[in-house]
Symmetry: C3
Subunit: 454 residues, 3 copies
């Protein structure tokens, strides 16, 4: 039976709102690639799923990179001569250039302006800017506000520290029957940005929660990491075992109202690529499959040529392609409860394909078996159910996986899988070749579990 | 020279009418998957072509199936209280549910109605229904007629037998120079249905007749069988030798006025698939190539995974897609003399491709040979004739078959084949590799035949 | 660095006019497949590039062909009874049927007409006709002029000779660091025809001139030959070494105002096919890639199955598809300076791809290297420059050539190549596998050259 049959978890009526609430609880935290913000975020995730946090000291060499100093910030503002905060980090953490070094100076507007960032084309939005690898300081604000700043002196204060410390990331590992792993990775290093960052964090958290309740074929590894440097750090620390990853997804920008986009792994025809394309084709929302490109989120690192892992990237609106991206408009209104819930459903459905995709052998391969006398051909089954049975029987020669059969027949995987399970029960199908061995071990594992349950 | 040059047989002016007449002669017979109807049909086919009939006893295990009891029917009717037959098998054999068990009872209309089948959406047509594997009885009639039946008692009589006997099928085997076989299969188990059943029977009969007059590369096996159980029975009895089948066609619904449809074999790229697609592309009628699916006619059995024979299905209108299908409207008016004749022509042309498709070797492969001084480049040849020669010379490297060359050049196979024959005569081409050996044997066989003719 | 960086030669402002002037200087010569015309043409080419002329005696067997007698002509005319030349070879060398045997006779118009060729559909144009392999004589003239000829006697004179001599062709060989060759072939056997013949001759001449100034990876062989018999003769004399040709282009009809057409080699996916398609896709003019066909220019011979060389054909308007083809309207007005110059640029760009196409190895393949600290990620580079670097790094696994990367990324080859050179300088890339060996030899060769230059 499908591990995700009915996807009850994903169908829970308030699920979308619960997910949105969780994102909302993380929204105010001022995250960065290091520091207390990401640690607090991981602590909140850990209230929902088992999570191990890893601290990697500043200065650690990770491939071609070095773990940077840890950045923390308590306060930041620009105050006018009257002492009134005209730009205030306490109101919105996007106001400070992320990774700003400390400053406490009085300076005229002219000098200050070289450190101000705005978006003239969206005059009411605050841009999100960072300066991780070049020491600098700055403020981000609405263009309209900047144009209204009066000439004169301003007190500029950033109460931050940039000191040796560590880079922290979180891992949630769910052991399955096999040591082969499925990787789910999301970045958790952006401050108050909802779609870019928190949507991925939220879907990953709820997905892990959902999986934790099931008997799993694969082991699952969820990473909540700072973008780029975090993925590189993880890969450097897990170089030898990264090869266990059989399939992977980077989740980002997955909570907005747009349709789905799946960007293929570098391999282009990996099982995850085919599974994601299949599920999106049948998901009932607009969806598009994009070719791999070496630009984007952490799939860039997982798909670097030395690793070439089968990891794609699942999004709704593509990062960089919507104006709210990397601005204060990517807020909690920009992500929708229903979008979050359906993204979770789609992710779970992709994993359902991976969990259940295997090859079978028709046990009566000469001519068709007589379905009628087994009650498999009657009008009680819908036409597509019978077609699914015929397709599975016809293509189960040990060479076609269920996903192959689903794609060739045009029938959704879950229906093909259900047909295969039924035909197995009726003795008309058996697990093929190598899969047979795996399944026997699975049966043993299941039996053990059942015994324990009794 | 082409075995089918000019396709004189197919071009005979009255051919279509002769074919239609033959179908008409078979039309009134009440066929089923067993019984006298199919035997009488085979006897009439045997008046035209050599045919062996095989009787397989009821109860014989054939793979997962069992040969059913033999069904025969003499009479059936529903009579009103006045004794007037309101539904009469003698008027149309579709009126009886095929394989109905005997009954002779008086019953009220209400009880009778559970055994009546109609088509409300086509109120003047009688549907065709069967109950082969579940003992039942019933009558089929026009919906309009049923609504006019008056309440009251009716005498219901079906004078049928369902007893141990046998399943009968016919085989016409035409030996060729090679033991490799081409299979032509059609079902002959439907009562008075013209397109679904008799069109295939008629085209197959005339095709066998046509081939019988030629020196053949392949051996040909024509099967006239009950659908499903017949194909399964034949495969079970010929399991070891079925592998001789190199190419095959199931013929069904091939006499109506619609364009052609060719459904590919399970292999999808078998030579028969490419030959049929090529011929349809050039046939001058609308034509479409369909992907394989495990639903349809007996290609389902031939293409079951244990056999996976290269057998496609040639149709005009696709079964199930036209309203007349499995109704009394699939009558002799629904099939057209010109359609039957052209279907025969298309079949013969496909076989012509298979008979003549082989690879050659250009004997002067360095630069072009000088065609001009051999009279092969002059204006007496049309432009496409010269192009055919150039294509054959250029691609005859032992790796490209004539069908490859026809497809790559876009030139019809017969013209490519004619060019190859001419270039062989001129010494510019020789049969390649393995084909060479086969052809030498063929030449020996031809020589023998010629000697005998002298 | 690219051998063709900036393509300065091709960008020279007067280049197009210079090319047109060169074509104009060759235009009046009465060329044929043998004789003084082609020799004079080769002599003029030799004033610009190093050229070896080869004389092959009449009667020499070249594969299936024989080198014909040499044809020369001094004068030809049709004069009326008053002695006035009504058709005069001195005015236009197209007036005489090329390869006409000598004649000096008086005859009535009726008899003469059997030897006159016109184009009724273009009544003002003189057609171009030949009779190389069948001894004949004739005149070509405007249809309008023919219809105005008065009945009566005409003096018909062709002062030609057809005698043992030789077939002459020219070869320009430019040695490169490798013995692997690139072939550039054009026919130089047509009399006063500009696009069909002189455009190819001109582009090839200027291309050779351009290449002669560079350090070359490949050796280059330019052939200026009579069509068909010349290519066959060259292949017959170079049969053993023709395999050195790694890439090749036939140039013809490449000076008119139409867009580009590249006809693929017989192989269809040779590196030259991919390079030409890539360059045309980015060339900024309308361009179309055509499948191989065994009809056309000398690619027919190079792509004959015994050789199957990777030689395509680059054209603007396709021969035979424009009405001016093989008529007096294919004159110096029909070819454009700008078209000639841009054709040269496209040819040089194709060669640039071939010269620089190789595979590299990312030296830091685990995760992305940190481009920022190397100044490779800054805003001083355009977005596409950074993308080119990311693509090259991601796909440089020794399996993808730069052309593969250019095609997959959609970025023009020159930019991909520039990125690879820069990444090599920064130590992030090294030449892969076999290419490495080649390149080391190239470096040695370069070093030697540099030493000599010092």
């Amino acid at each position: 039976m499908s591990l995700f049959n009915g996807l009850e978890e994903a169908a829970r009526p308030n699920l979308g709102q619960e997910m949105h609430d969780f994102a909302a609880s993380l929204f105010p935290i001022c995250r960065s690639i290091t520091g207390k913000g990401i640690r607090e975020t991981l602590a909140r995730i850990e209230t929902r799923i088992p999570l191990d946090a890893y601290d990697v000291p500043s200065g650690t060499k990770v491939f071609d990179w070095t773990v940077p100093k840890e950045w923390n910030i308590r306060d930041a503002y620009i105050a006018d001569v009257g002492g009134r905060r005209v730009v205030d980090f306490q109101k919105c953490n996007l106001h400070v250039l992320n990774y700003s070094v400390p400053i406490d100076e009085r300076m005229p507007l002219d000098r200050l302006k070289a450190h101000l960032f705005t978006l003239p084309e969206y005059p009411d939005w605050i841009p999100y800017r960072t300066s991780y690898y070049k020491e600098d300081w700055g403020f981000c604000l609405a263009h309209r506000q900047m144009t209204q700043l009066k000439d004169g002196e301003y007190q500029v204060r950033i109460d931050s520290t940039l000191e040796d410390g560590c880079l922290t990331y979180g891992e949630c590992f769910l052991p399955g029957r096999s040591g082969d792993e499925i990787l789910i990775s999301c970045h958790a290093c952006h401050p108050s940005l909802a779609n870019d960052n928190l949507s991925g964090v939220t879907v990953a958290t709820f997905l892990a929660k959902h999986l934790a309740g099931h008997d799993l074929r694969y082991s699952y590894r969820f990473l909540f990491i700072p973008g780029t440097i975090g993925a590189i750090t993880w890969l450097a620390r897990n170089r030898e075992t990264a090869g266990r990853i059989r399939h992977g997804l980077v989740l980002t920008c997955i909570g907005d109202a747009g349709g789905f986009h799946y960007k293929k792994s570098r391999r282009g025809n990996a099982e995850i690529d085919r599974a994601a394309a299949h599920v999106l084709r049948h998901c009932g929302e607009p969806a598009k499959v994009l070719e791999f490109s070496p630009y984007g989120y952490d799939e860039r690192q997982y798909c670097s040529p030395g690793f070439n892992l089968p990891v794609g990237c699942l999004m709704r609106s593509v990062w960089g392609s919507f104006p709210e991206y990397h601005t204060s408009a990517d807020n909690l209104d920009f992500i929708k409860p229903s979008s979050l819930a359906n993204s979770l459903r789609v992710c779970a459905t992709i994993l359902d394909v991976l969990e259940n995709n295997q090859s079978y052998q028709n046990t009566l391969p000469y001519g068709e078996p007589q379905l009628g006398r087994r009650g498999l051909y009657g009008s009680e089954a819908g036409g597509e159910e019978i077609m699914a049975r015929l397709w599975v029987l016809n293509l189960s020669d040990g060479q076609h996986s269920l996903l192959d059969i689903a794609d060739q027949s045009g029938i959704v995987f879950s229906r093909i899988h259900a047909a295969a399970e039924l035909l197995c029960q009726k003795g008309l199908l058996s697990v093929a070749g190598e899969d047979r061995v795996k399944t026997k071990m699975q049966d043993a594992a299941r039996h053990k579990t059942n015994s324990q349950n009794q």
